[in-house]
């Protein structure tokens, strides 16, 4: 497998400087000035700066530049697609289609917003389209049934990661996507509502019910502990 460094070697060894400015924002949250979601933070693994040299090459259709971009965003794109679809093959195809779309549109990118945000938006849209297409009732809601309210300590603080992975995978696709987009990618409820074609209150209720369902699933987990 070629690395991003190899793909960028044709650009005068600029990768070192480019990599030095690379921002992976896990653990270094950027506050969003958004009244709709005052607590929202952007903590996306997509937050990677791409140099103007690489972007210029990509706009010209230079394959090495396109590969460099692919190498940088492949993993966050796949991880996000997998969280949303919960299917490895679907996630792989989402990344393929999203990158194809990205590269065919890259000449239109004008730089008035972060490039990584553009990449991420395309991946999210592709994943949502795939969810709608591949599932009979793709974006099913969690039933609005009365469930016990767990107001104690959040179980995800003491549970094994594997248990959290399994519980997350058991949520309906849309609920899981809303949780991930809100908590991890830092999207606001109005944004999620727009992307999914639903209302803001729907997004909020999906988040609340999803959180509650996760509590339920994790509290039933044999590995749950609160040490």
């Amino acid at each position: 497998m070629r690395s991003a460094e190899q793909g960028l070697a044709q650009y005068g060894g600029s990768f070192a400087a480019f990599n030095g400015r690379q921002r992976r924002n896990i653990g270094a949250a950027t506050l969003c000035d958004d009244a709709a979601s005052p607590y929202a933070v952007t903590t996306s693994s997509f937050q990677i700066d791409v140099s103007e040299i690489v972007l210029a090459g990509a706009r010209r259709g230079d394959l090495a530049a396109l590969e460099a971009i692919y190498r940088h965003f492949e993993r966050p794109a796949y991880a996000l697609a997998l969280r949303m679809t919960a299917d490895r093959e679907d996630a792989r195809e989402v990344v393929h289609d999203a990158m194809l779309r990205l590269f065919e549109r890259i000449a239109q990118f004008r730089g008035d917003a972060p490039f990584w945000g553009w990449v991420r938006q395309i991946v999210v849209n592709e994943a949502l389209m795939r969810l709608r297409r591949t599932r009979a009732t793709p974006l099913d809601d969690i039933d609005d049934v009365a469930e016990p309210i767990y107001a104690g300590p959040a179980p995800w603080h003491g549970v094994a990661q594997r248990e959290l992975e399994l519980a997350l995978a058991r949520l309906p696709a849309l609920t899981r996507s809303v949780i991930w987009l809100y908590h991890v990618e830092g999207y606001t409820h109005p944004e999620i509502a727009e992307m999914t074609g639903n209302t803001v209150s729907f997004s909020k209720s999906q988040l609340a019910r999803g959180n509650q369902r996760l509590r339920l699933l994790l509290n039933d987990s044999p590995e749950a502990s609160y040490g």
């Binding site: 497998m1 921002r23 924002n25 270094a28 950027t30 506050l31 969003c32 000035d33 607590y39 933070v41 952007t42 259709g61 394959l63 590969e67 692919y70 190498r71 993993r75 991880a79 490895r88 996630a91 792989r92 990344v95 990158m99 194809l100 590269f103 065919e104 549109r105 917003a113 972060p114 990584w116 945000g117 553009w118 991420r120 938006q121 849209n125 949502l128 389209m129 709608r132 297409r133 107001a151 959040a154 995800w156 603080h157 990661q161 959290l164 997350l168 991930w180 908590h183 991890v184 830092g186 999207y187 606001t188 409820h189 944004e191 992307m195 074609g197 909020k204 609340a208 959180n211 996760l214």
Partner: protein, 189 residues
């Protein structure tokens, strides 16, 4: 309904727990397939650029004439390519992909609620794109072979993607720009 964060204040920790999960990675390198797809989509355009320009010009003129005579509706069914010839395998494969892609995008757009008019520019852009799709559909109706239809389907998919970006992603871009504008310098480095 109250925001989940006010209902369960400790749910703020869920984001930390989710971000701590290992970042999944694909088992296979997707670049070779992607590079091949990119090159395949470029190749037909390089083979007959002059023909495509002639076709586009002629199609546009015909479409303008037809558009003056026929009412056009965005609710029209997907255009059917007339007399698709079993030509070379590569164009047919790409043609099928474009048709599938076009159908997916159209279905996705149909499920979106009618967006509120936020500004005149967006509304005009949307109308313009929809008009252009209508023109491409008219040209597709007049296409006589898969080779003629392929660049039109490409254009149709491009326009639908533009439309989906306009309708589905405006919030995301706006927020990304706002985030960049308000980001703390230390967080950017």
């Amino acid at each position: 309904m109250a925001d989940a964060k006010s209902r369960f204040p400790e749910d703020d920790g869920l984001g930390d727990a989710l971000r701590a999960l290992p970042l999944a990675h694909a088992e296979h390198d997707g670049w070779p397939t992607l590079a091949a797809a990119l090159q395949a989509r470029r190749a037909p355009a390089r083979r007959s650029p002059r023909r495509w320009h002639w076709l586009a010009g002629a199609g546009l003129a015909a479409s303008l004439l037809l558009a003056a005579l026929l009412p056009w509706s965005t609710q029209a069914p997907l255009p059917v390519v007339a007399e698709q010839q079993p030509a070379a395998t590569e164009p047919m494969t790409e043609l099928a992909w474009m048709q599938r892609r076009s159908s997916e995008l159209e279905a996705w757009l149909a499920e979106l609620p009618t967006p509120p008019v936020r500004d005149g520019r967006s509304a005009l852009a949307r109308i313009e794109i929809e008009d252009l799709i209508g023109l491409v559909d008219l040209q597709l109706d007049a296409s006589r072979s898969a080779d003629e239809a392929l660049p039109l389907w490409r254009q149709r998919v491009d326009l639908l993607e533009d439309l989906s970006m306009l309708r589905g992603a405006s919030f995301g871009y706006a927020n990304a720009a706002a985030a960049a504008a308000t980001a703390e310098p230390s967080a950017i480095l």
